[in-house]
């Protein structure tokens, strides 16, 4: 068990190393591109250029440059954005992270609850009008672009119907930290989180329905019925148990991807100062240090999530823990 953990940890470090080399290579070692000019930003003075060149070691060989960059990112954490006139990048990302995390936590709560309910009901009532209705709605949710949906929500709740009794509670766009006001925090995030979760509800409900129906054909389910278990027990206790493996792995990947900045569009539309919006800003101004930091931050989350999923997998299916599947 300890050996497996160590191996897993080594694997994670290796993956992160690979990603950092890749990102570094794309932005800094592309032939013909002068990273100094990019880091310094557009229209920088020659003095600034010279300062950047020596600070990042761009007059030194590539491995040194890479090491310097990683050192600035992870050890001294003083990587600064030149676009933003010397603001350190790492604290910026750290300040944005709780916003994104809050948004994604709320969204995932919605999408898990709703997709479980819809997926199970659709599977139980398969091919009925209820099932078709839900799957139709799900497809609709799946195909609505999140930025469009967000704008529509804003239009309705912020301006058009803001003064009706229905939406008067909706706060202005922006984020309220939990420490400041838990209620304000929840109110500020409710609509963005719902908007973000719509597509996931559609997708997850479909996946769960398909997996559940496949599981119901298994011998083990026949055994459960032969034991005298009622339908609720057969579906929820036995069926779900067999079918939520792919649901869980899908969830882990999506969750990590969103926390890593994948909720960019939602954050921009609802003016939430999260990691996604930070990445968006960095890309807009070609702020290379900021991009480097956000990409590495995202990579850490995805790699971590992968490890967590594998752990959860082993808990859900003991055959995986022993490195064998089936017979």
């Amino acid at each position: 068990m300890l050996r497996m953990l160590a191996a897993r940890l080594g694997q994670m470090v290796f993956v992160l190393f690979g990603i950092s080399v890749l990102v570094f290579g794309v932005f800094f070692a592309t032939p013909g591109a002068d990273p100094t000019a990019r880091i310094a930003g557009r229209g920088a003075s020659p003095e600034v250029m010279a300062r950047v060149r020596s600070a990042y070691g761009f007059d030194r060989p590539l491995p040194v440059q890479y090491a310097r960059m990683m050192e600035k990112l992870f050890v001294s954490r003083d990587l600064t954005s030149f676009v933003d006139h010397g603001a350190p990048v790492v604290p910026e990302v750290m300040a944005a992270a709780p916003v994104t995390l809050s948004l994604v936590l709320w969204a995932s709560l919605f999408w898990v609850v709703f997709s479980l309910a819809i997926g199970i009901v659709s599977a139980v009532l398969r091919d009925s009008w209820v099932d078709r209705f839900f799957m139709g709605i799900g497809l609709l949710g799946l195909s609505m672009p999140v930025f469009w949906l967000g704008e529509v929500v804003n239009l309705v709740t912020q301006s058009r119907f803001h003064d009706t009794w229905l939406f008067s509670w909706v706060p202005p766009l922006g984020y309220v930290p939990f420490s400041e006001s838990p209620l304000g925090w929840a109110r500020a995030l409710l609509l963005p989180a719902l908007t973000l979760s719509v597509a996931f509800i559609g997708l997850y409900a479909r996946v769960l329905r398909a997996e559940l129906l496949a599981a119901m054909g298994e011998d083990a389910i026949r055994t459960a019925r032969a034991k005298g278990a009622g339908p609720a027990r057969v579906w929820l206790w036995h069926g779900l148990r067999l079918s939520w493996l792919s649901y869980v792995s899908l969830f882990g990947m999506d969750f990590a991807q969103l926390v890593g900045g994948g909720a960019l569009l939602t954050e921009v539309v609802f003016a939430l100062p999260g990691v996604g919006r930070l990445t968006y800003q960095g890309l807009n101004t070609l702020d290379l240090p900021l991009i480097m930091a956000t990409v590495m931050y995202a990579a850490v989350f995805v790699v971590l999530a992968n490890a967590v999923i594998d752990g959860v997998y082993a808990l859900l299916d003991p055959r995986i823990a022993e490195g064998r599947h089936g017979r």
């Binding site: 083990a220 055994t223 032969a226 034991k227 278990a229 027990r233 067999l242 003991p318 055959r319 017979r327």
Partner: protein, 316 residues
Amino acid sequence: MDAETLLSIEDLRLALPDGRVLLDGVSLSLARGEALGVVGESGSGKSLTAMTVMGLLPDVRSSGAVRFRARDLLMQDARAWRRLRGKEIAMIFQDPMTAFLPVRRVGAQIDEQIRLHEKLSRREARARTVRLLGEMGVPDPAAAAERFPHQLSGGLRQRAMIAMALSCAPALLIADEPTTALDVTVQAQILVLLTRLRETGAGLMLITHDMGVVAQACTHVAVLYAGVVVERGPVRAVLDAPLHPYTRALLAAMPPLDGPRPAHLPAIAGQPPAPDARPPGCVFAPRCPQVRPDCAIRPPVVRMGEQEVVCVLYAS
């Protein structure tokens, strides 16, 4: 039907909603302490018969009667079925690997069945589980209960399956090819176990394709072909003097384990008919060496001593 009769199936017919006929006249009966072997090839309807007795076939139209302890099972509602399944009639399946939920411990799955039917604490249920596993010859039953299905060998898994089936002391046990997935030496162990079970007074319905298994573990046999019971009676009588041409052909087609080796096995030509292409008369007529013109009409059930046979050869 006398008091000792546990299960009697009378002229059971099953059809799919699209009209394809799955069972076309199955009559069986089983008394307490008896073991009935239901023999047939794949597609003969032997498993369907078992599933009907368990009420596990959702989308079929059925006619005829399935009587269990004087109750007509086909008439009862879902709640009554649930009380019956696992408690009064229990079932074991061919592949104990897939029949158990792979992600839960074996003991927990047996406990579940006990607690579904009896108001027992977890601890009491587990005590019974361990006792049953021990009785089924599982070494170190308390530890085995804590294993996952894939951590047990095939033979131990099937023993655990039988323990689960017996956990609520059912009056009838249905075993669907319980030894087909096992090695011969393990099959022999399981057959011994099933034979011992009869001594408790329960009835056993053993679904199999293997006449040898029937000979070993059953008191009575019913031979199914293409959804029809073509012959039934006590095992000894049927094996010693098979009446139906199909039963005879089936026994002759088995390669012998001793005596002279035939240059050619007397195989039955052709294939069993598909459910949508069954002949209207005797279902075996197209492959029968003794076919006659009057086989075009479904023959009646004829009683010959202890045996019953569905064949024109015996119709007077």
